[in-house]
């Protein structure tokens, strides 16, 4: 069933989610993410899945968590204002270890901001939007094809590590149309959550298993257990025991850290001998690649590190480029968010130069080229 399509990033993401086995979508339409809900509303009922338009974004996230606990592969899609509303429930999904995928198609903010204009202002929100120490996984595709493949990967990661996975798509990528080849079924590995095999009476839902990830049963499969946003022990019931609380919070973060080889993804372009490196993500990485090609044509030693996974932050490739790059340029459609991580990792070994734009226009190659 191999086929070529000409799709928007949003539509390709929906195709990827369906490929990964997503069978539940709850959401509240919002620009510039609505095409994902539209696509899922059309496709899911035809595949015996469920699409619910909820009364708001908070309820959507609640429905996603409930559906996932009952065994569904569940997702929602929103934009900044809705992403803000979902934060409390995202924290709940982190501590209760409920697999789910949340798409935030970024528009100009804060508040209702600029509904149809691109931005990358939610990068830190994806990391720290919900309170307390928690692991965060966030991915920022820059092509329509990546929207598809990263959708599959997002579901795989969320199922394997039992953690919410956030997609930071910016408006340019979400609405941009490109050709994409939809892979055949079976061409990409699909990972499903592990199931418990203990006797019902011995079952401890939060007992760590492979990689520190517990095998939490799907509701309705015969296991009786308790789910709570309170700090809990292996039984799932609340605890005030500092030892158990400490173990839980450490384990949550560590289970994702242990998976970094699989979770982190980036692309290196002409970095081998680069004296100047551009670090970019999302649609801006496309402008950066264009600028790097122009500068290379002019004989300059420049390269691009394109981040696909943003959280956890890919430290390794940055440390590597800092070995020979004297200048690192960070263009972002915000007032400087990922640049803070870059500065932390580079540790003064190279000049770090941000390029920022918050007028909801994509940073142009020219703006990057003048700094190369």
């Amino acid at each position: 069933m191999e086929k070529e399509k000409f799709l928007q990033g949003n539509e390709a993401f929906a195709e990827g989610a369906l490929y990964a086995g997503c069978n539940f979508f709850a959401g509240y339409p919002i620009s510039p993410s609505s095409e994902i809900a539209e696509y899922m509303a059309y496709e899911l009922p035809r595949r015996k899945g469920v699409f619910i338009e909820m009364e708001d974004e908070i309820a959507s996230m609640g429905a996603v968590i409930g559906a996932s606990l009952a065994g569904a592969k569940a997702m929602t899609a929103t934009s900044g204002p809705g992403f803000s509303l979902k934060q409390e429930h995202i924290g709940f999904a982190c501590i209760t270890e409920v697999p789910c995928v949340i798409v935030d198609v970024m528009r100009g903010g804060p508040s209702t901001g600029t509904p149809t204009g691109p931005a990358q202002g939610d990068v830190m929100q994806a990391r720290w939007g919900t309170h307390g120490d928690h692991p965060a996984v966030a991915i920022a595709p820059s092509t329509v094809e990546e929207c598809f493949y990263e959708a599959v990967r997002a579901f795989n990661i969320s199922e394997k590590y039992r953690n919410p996975v956030i997609l930071l798509i910016d408006e340019v990528v979400g609405h941009m149309r490109e050709k994409i080849r939809i892979p055949k079924p079976g061409e990409i590995e699909i990972i499903n959550r592990r199931r418990p095999n203990e006797a019902y009476d011995d079952y401890l839902p939060y007992k760590p298993d492979l990689g520190g990830v517990p095998n939490i049963a799907n509701f309705g499969t015969g296991y009786r257990f308790h789910i709570t946003g309170l700090s809990h022990d292996w039984s799932g019931f609340p605890t005030n025991d500092p030892k158990r609380i400490g173990e839980l919070i450490q384990r949550l973060t560590k289970k994702v850290e242990k998976g970094e080889d699989e979770i982190l993804r980036w692309e290196e372009f002409m970095l081998e001998d680069a004296e100047t490196a551009v670090v970019a993500y999302g649609s801006v990485a496309r402008s950066a690649k264009f600028a790097v090609k122009c500068a290379r044509n002019a004989g300059k030693k420049v390269g691009l590190l394109k981040l696909i996974t943003i959280w956890p932050f890919p430290v390794k490739p940055l440390k590597r480029l800092a070995e020979h790059a004297r200048k690192v340029i960070i263009p972002e459609m915000n007032l400087g968010q990922i640049v803070l991580e870059v500065e932390r990792v580079i540790g003064g070994k190279a000049d770090v130069i941000p390029i920022n734009r918050v007028d909801t226009e994509l940073i142009s190659p020219d703006e990057i080229l003048v700094k190369l």
Partner: protein, 192 residues
């Protein structure tokens, strides 16, 4: 072939994003080229300014927005004022003769044509002005085959409107055949 950039601009509701989508899909799926289409519009479903950018190339397309536009279609005065400066030297500006009164000076070829009037009187429905424009652009630039455009058009329009849309496309193609450059003696900068 290097990047070729087409920008379709006007007001929200004129269907220019759809026209751009069809042009890009035709090039990408049926003509074996690379194509990227992006758009820019306001929160209004009608009115406000709206534009669609199509980049066509035989190479990878990185930057998805316009750098220097090869062809600009403008169906409102506001859009021609806003985007005429983006046209590359020797590029093409197509304006609707009914809605655009003042053409900014620049080093581009100008076609001032009855796009909207053709849709209204010849085809019979003003809403297909976008498809007339699509046929016109296809006829003028000859970069994407008419056959490919017809295939893409067919998959992107509501069932039952095929006849209307295909007539609009033909009307646009014919408009291109009869089109001649507008040379305005008041615009001294025009070099074509």
């Amino acid at each position: 072939m290097e990047r070729y950039e087409v920008k379709l601009s006007g007001s929200g509701g004129q269907g220019l994003i759809l026209a751009g989508m069809i042009l890009a899909e035709a090039a990408a799926l049926y003509d074996g080229k690379n194509a990227v289409q992006t758009q820019s519009y306001g929160p209004e479903s009608r009115g406000g300014s709206s534009s669609s950018i199509v980049i066509i190339s035989n190479q990878d397309i990185d930057y998805p927005k316009a750098t220097k536009v090869d062809v600009l279609l403008a169906l409102t005065q506001e859009s021609v004022n806003k985007y005429a400066g983006d046209i590359k030297d020797g590029g093409i500006l197509i304006v609707d003769e009914e809605t655009v009164k003042d053409i900014p000076a620049g080093k581009y070829k100008i076609y001032k044509l009855p796009v909207i009037a053709t849709a209204r009187t010849q085809v019979g429905k003003v809403i297909v002005a976008n498809i007339v424009a699509l046929g016109l652009i296809a006829g003028l630039i000859e970069l994407v085959s008419i056959d490919a455009i017809k295939k893409a058009l067919f998959t992107r329009i509501p069932k039952g409107t095929e006849e209307l849309n295909f007539r609009a496309l033909e009307a646009g193609i014919n408009l291109a055949k009869e089109a001649h450059l507008t040379v305005d003696p008041n615009l001294e900068c025009i070099s074509y």
